[in-house]
């Protein structure tokens, strides 16, 4: 709101020469905002509201003396307030039609009296000021000049309405802390940071007085490590870049040249990648600590909420990103327009504090009658100190009070602010303690409350630290699937349900997952998984799928036989349960045995039928994910085909959210491993949408899309379409993405495309900069990327002209450099590429000169068949150069080659024999030459 107001205000200033506010929507909304602000100002900021203006605000009012009531001296023609300033002037004076107001509290009272004419009064007030105050010689330097009134007024609105208004103290703290981390070369956050002025006014401001009126606090000159020097204005409305104020007293450069940010750190993060990088790492911890000390934690807590507690910043699992951020505390409501519930709740809280056990229980029951899901009631309980009392009750010995209190807490803890306050007041500790109670109702309520509270990291951490995980796990111990249950056993089941709910919330943290496992939670969850109750199954499967991100859990889920139950519940009639089951299978089916189990328990068909629930995107994402992972096993793909999964999947390629697309495309990539499916994908019209997805910015999606396109490209008819859609260029351009996964995946797809396209050689040449890119990628540090690029080079170089170009770009030394690798997959493709590149010019000799021969001979001894074969062929190619033969001979190549000549693989035989022949021929030629020389 603050920033929009400032803009609006500036606009108003421009139009002020007419001394009337035009009736534009913008002005209307500005008026309303000012009105709202003034009305609430005296309750929100009582001290400031009492401050007496130097000059009264005056305007022509429509109010008459009879409108005024108590607190005013009313005569026929005149009204004066009882409140007076130090010199005895009344703070409000009305001599119709003019009214003089000298404080905000009076202004707010007057507006209250004006009732439905409020807005008109505000407008008159603003306009009136201009009529009487417009000064011909406006000067910016007269900071106290009355011409700045509106400015001040709007500024006040800006400042006080802004939820986290900057003040000199906050800025000073921030600057001091940042200064601690300046210098030290690359390790520091910044090179330097200084104020433009060493002089500080008594109010903490450093900006000249006339700029203070605009809200400017100080000016900074900051040298980041990686970009040019930044000139920054810190103002009450935020921090922003200015026109370049280098030292104090400069007249120009005050204008804002960037967006305003709530604090310096955010501004710097947006300008300096180095700073952003560093501050996101270790420094954040320090800064949060320091700033907390400096009592401006609020500003920061919001900024760094993703890492709420130092020390545990980077240890939590990725699922955390989905959850709520900690919001800044809300200011307590103002007294003016509070709902009647507020007062009733306030009264009840008083009885809670003062009553004995009986009264307390009665009062708690009365409180439960309010709509506790309503935010106003939740906030009323917090604002009137009720939350503290409720939490205190948990530590008493009266279990009825505890029950009552928990019944309220479990409901109001749906509110994220309340959750935070509960944690701040050490409520988690008390609630966890109740989990040991002998009263089952209490245990269940406590667990349910934990389930709500543990929605954010700090709360979850608290649950673990106070031993809550072990206690919650022990709640799970019940007999879930007995046909006839005693009332006591039924209560046990209720308790276990609540326990599972709580564990579900807690399991979002990696450390909690480990703690649950350590406490023996997995077998218990496995037992509950056999329950017929949906309300039990949802949290249990929810917890399991959350935890399945850990490998240990995946193993346990498989070995403890839970796959069967998960598959069974895929056919439940509850979407949420189906989703969690599918999601658990998604995570677990990376493992082959799990995939086989899903098939064995007939889980594939229900998964396919989940695809029909296309409007539940979460469910769809989970189901397609499970199908993707399951289809890694070819037997499963065959089954899926029986259920016509392929056609449905192809239809899901359009108009789906990314998380669905990633999985659908992943599944298609696996399906396309079977030749018949490649054609089927084309027939269902899947090629076009697939190629279109090559332009997605999502890396996970790109990895899958390139894989799928690559798999489809091995079908000639598919390739024709891909080529028409310019697919080769699109795949090629993906080599430019920074992600190694995408690079290698794209390179593999490229191999398939080039191999199967009609005039691939020419297409490749037409891609400007393409070959350079390929050769450059040979200096990647990722073996998978290198292997894929070698494979691509092998395909590209089949075209002679291309090989010539690649040679010009230095492919030979780049390949030779890689020969020392021990990575078998890379060795295989590298040898292929070398063999192919030997076909041009003097490349054979160049490889020899670059020292590629000796390592290749060594690679011949690899145990991997594909490496032996490729290497033998490369050596055969290289052996056509006499010098290479000499090197090979020196490195004792003959022995292994002769061995390979006995292989069953004809190509290998041939290559080995050819190579030996070359060496032999050289030897013969040499001898002949010697003989010849000898004879002569």
């Amino acid at each position: 709101m603050g920033i929009s107001l400032t803009r609006a205000a500036q606009w108003t200033m421009v139009s002020s020469s007419t001394a009337k506010l035009a009736s534009t929507p913008m002005n209307e909304s500005l008026l309303k905002e000012i009105l709202h602000f003034v009305e609430h100002f005296s309750s929100q900021h009582p001290q400031e509201a009492e401050h007496v203006f130097e000059e009264p605000l005056q305007w022509s009012t429509t109010l008459v003396p009879s409108d005024f009531k108590t607190d005013y001296d009313i005569s026929d023609s005149d009204v004066q307030s009882h409140e007076r300033d130090s010199e005895g002037h009344p703070l409000l004076q009305l001599s119709p039609p003019t009214v003089y107001v000298r404080s905000f509290s009076q202004l707010s009272k007057l507006l209250h009296l004006a009732d439905d004419k409020k807005l008109a009064e505000v407008r008159a007030c603003l306009e009136g000021k201009f009529e009487s105050n417009l000064h011909p010689k406006q000067s910016n330097h007269q900071h106290s000049s009355i011409t700045h009134r509106l400015n001040v007024f709007v500024l006040l609105v800006t400042v006080y309405s802004h939820p986290i208004m900057l003040n000199p103290k906050a800025v000073k703290n921030e600057v001091e802390i940042l200064q601690m981390f300046c210098g030290g070369g690359d390790k520091g956050l910044l090179k330097s940071l200084r104020y433009t002025s060493d002089f500080q006014f008594s109010n903490g401001y450093r900006a000249p007085l006339w700029r203070q009126v605009q809200g400017d606090i100080c000016y900074l000159v900051i040298e980041p490590c990686d970009t040019e020097t930044l000139y920054i204005t810190c103002s009450t409305a935020g921090s922003f870049l200015n026109g370049g104020i280098k030292q104090e007293g400069e007249e120009n450069g005050y204008e804002r040249t960037s967006d305003a940010y709530e604090d310096l750190v955010t501004l710097l993060k947006s300008r300096s990648p180095h700073f952003a990088d560093k501050i996101n790492q270790t420094y954040r911890v320090l800064i949060v600590c320091l700033i907390k000390k400096a009592e401006v934690a609020l500003v920061y807590f919001r900024k760094t909420s993703a890492g709420a507690l130092p020390g545990e910043l980077f240890s939590e699992s990725s699922t955390e990103s989905e959850e709520e951020e900690e919001q800044p505390y809300r200011h307590p409501e103002t007294n003016t327009d509070l709902p009647s519930e507020y007062w009733q709740i306030q009264k009840l809280v008083k009885y809670l504090k003062d009553g004995d056990q009986i009264v307390t229980v009665d009062t708690l029951c009365a409180m439960m009658d309010f709509n506790l899901m309503q935010e106003s009631c939740q906030m009323a309980i917090q604002d009137t100190g009720g939350l503290k009392v409720l939490l205190n009750l948990l530590d008493t010995d009266e279990h009825k009070c505890k029950i009552g209190s928990l019944k309220i807490l479990r409901t109001i803890s749906h509110n994220s602010q309340i959750r935070r306050v509960i944690v701040d007041m050490k409520g988690v500790q008390s609630i966890v303690k109740i989990l040991d109670s002998p009263v089952k109702e209490l245990k269940a309520l406590a667990a349910e409350t934990i389930a709500n509270v543990a929605k954010f990291r700090r709360a979850r951490r608290n649950v673990r630290l106070y031993g809550g995980i072990n206690k919650l796990v022990s709640l799970l111990d019940c007999l879930p699937n007995f046909a006839s249950l005693t009332p006591s056993q039924e209560e046990d089941i209720e308790v276990a349900c609540c326990g599972a709910l709580a564990l579900w919330s807690c399991s979002r943290s990696t450390k909690n997952k480990k703690a649950i496992r350590k406490a023996g939670g997995i077998p218990l969850l496995g037992r509950l998984l056999k329950s017929p109750l949906q309300k039990m199954l949802i949290p249990v499967v929810g917890t399991l799928q959350e935890c399945a991100s850990e490998e240990s859990y995946r193993n346990d889920i498989q070995t403890l036989g839970m796959i069967k139950d998960l598959v069974r519940n895929l056919s439940s009639d509850n979407d949420e349960l189906q989703m969690h089951c599918a999601s658990a299978i998604f995570k677990c089916a990376e493992d082959k045995q799990t995939r086989d189990l899903v098939r064995k328990y007939k889980g594939l068909q229900p998964l396919v039928s989940l695809l029909h629930k296309a409007d539940n995107k979460q469910l769809l994402a989970a189901a397609t994910g499970a199908i993707w992972k399951c289809s890694i096993s070819q037997e499963n793909v065959t089954k899926f085909q029986e259920y016509k999964a392929l056609e449905i999947l192809v239809n899901l390629l359009t108009d789906q959210p990314e998380e669905v697309l990633v999985n659908v495309v992943g599944a298609l990539g696996e399906f396309a491993q079977i030749p018949a499916n490649k054609a089927a994908i084309r027939e269902f019209g899947g090629i076009k949408p697939l190629v279109k997805l090559l332009t997605s910015p999502n890396q996970a999606l790109l990895v899958n899309v390139t894989k799928a396109v690559g798999a489809c490209a091995t079908n000639k008819d598919n390739m024709v379409i891909i080529d028409q859609l310019d697919g080769i260029r699109l795949v090629w351009s993906l080599l430019k993405t920074p992600s190694a996964d995408v690079q290698s995946s794209a390179a593999w797809a490229l191999c398939a495309c080039i191999e199967n396209a009609e005039d691939a050689g020419e297409t490749a040449r037409s891609l400007i900069g393409g070959f350079q890119l390929i050769v450059k990628l040979l200096s990647s540090t990722n073996n998978e990327v290198l292997a894929s690029i070698c494979a691509a080079i092998c395909k590209i170089a089949k075209d002679e002209e291309n090989l010539a170009i690649l040679t010009d770009f230095g492919v030979v030394p780049s390949l030779a450099k890689l020969t020392n690798t021990t990575h078998d997959r890379l060795r295989h493709h590298l040898a292929d590429a070398i063999a192919q590149c030997c076909m041009w010019g003097s490349n054979r000799a160049s490889f020899g000169e670059a020292g590629a021969v000796a390592p290749l001979v060594r690679n011949l001894k690899s145990k991997e068949g594909s490496v032996q074969r490729s290497t033998a062929m490369a050596l055969y190619q290289l052996s056509r150069n006499p010098n290479n033969c000499i090197t090979m001979h020196e490195k004792e190549v003959v022995q292994p080659l002769i061995h390979m000549m006995g292989s069953d693989d004809e190509e290998l035989q041939e290559a080995a024999a050819g190579c030996v022949r070359s060496i032999r021929l050289l030897y013969m030629a040499n001898r002949n030459a010697e003989l010849f020389t000898f004879r002569n």
Binding site: D354, G355, D356, C365, A366
Partner: protein, 215 residues
């Protein structure tokens, strides 16, 4: 001496058999134990000079106090009246066992009836404003600056009445009370503690049933 006690024992057994047929929740064996406990209490009372055929008000209330942890005088008096069904100012053996049946093992319905009787001070089958006020008086502490010290309680009574008085006749009938309590069990003892805590029950049962069995 041993002959007399043998006779006594047989008499007790017969009595127990009779009573256990009329009273819910207790086995014959348990009734026997309760009779024995009753006799012990009566003996203690008579040793201190009184000779009555049952538990008089003083002894009963002190028993509530020491064994069941009920300390609120307003309530213990009413509990005595509720136990003492025939209004002869003495809790007889049968009344004792009948009372304990609700006290220790009562179902929710039985407890609702029992509590309602306790709270219906004048026995007119309704809990009036005045009765509530009487029972809740003094339960709010700390109002030094308020003119009427009962102002808070009066307000609370109105709140409770608003919540519980389903038929809007300004007082709580048994049906009102029953409906409220079934809705929210916590309100069973809305006007004062008149049932023992579960821990006291456990202790008592252990003491009376188990330890005596072991003898």
């Amino acid at each position: 001496m041993s002959k007399i006690s043998a006779v006594n024992k047989r008499a007790t057994q017969t009595l127990a058999e009779n009573i256990s047929k009329q009273v819910e929740h207790f086995s014959k064996k348990e009734v026997e134990c309760l009779i024995r406990e009753f006799n012990v209490l009566v003996a203690e009372q008579n040793n201190s000079g009184r000779a009555v055929h049952g538990l008089d008000r003083g002894k009963f209330i002190s028993t509530l106090h020491s064994i069941f942890g009920l300390t609120d005088d307003r309530m213990t008096g009413r509990v005595f009246r509720t136990f003492d069904k025939d209004n002869d100012s003495v809790v007889s053996m049968k009344e004792w066992i009948e009372g304990l049946s609700v006290f220790l093992r009562g179902t929710l319905d039985e407890k609702i009836k029992y509590c309602f009787t306790v709270y219906d001070l004048n026995g007119d089958n309704a809990i009036s404003r005045e009765e509530m006020l009487h029972m809740l008086k003094g339960r709010l502490i700390r109002q030094p600056n308020e003119e009427d010290p009962d102002e808070g309680i009066k307000d609370l009574v109105e709140i409770i009445l608003k919540k519980m008085d389903y038929d809007h006749d300004g007082k709580l009938s048994f049906e009102d009370f029953e409906k409220t309590v079934k809705d929210e069990n916590l309100l069973l003892e809305a006007f004062g503690t008149c049932l023992p805590d579960f821990r006291r029950i456990e202790m008592f049962e252990r003491h009376v049933f188990q330890e005596q069995f072991e003898q």
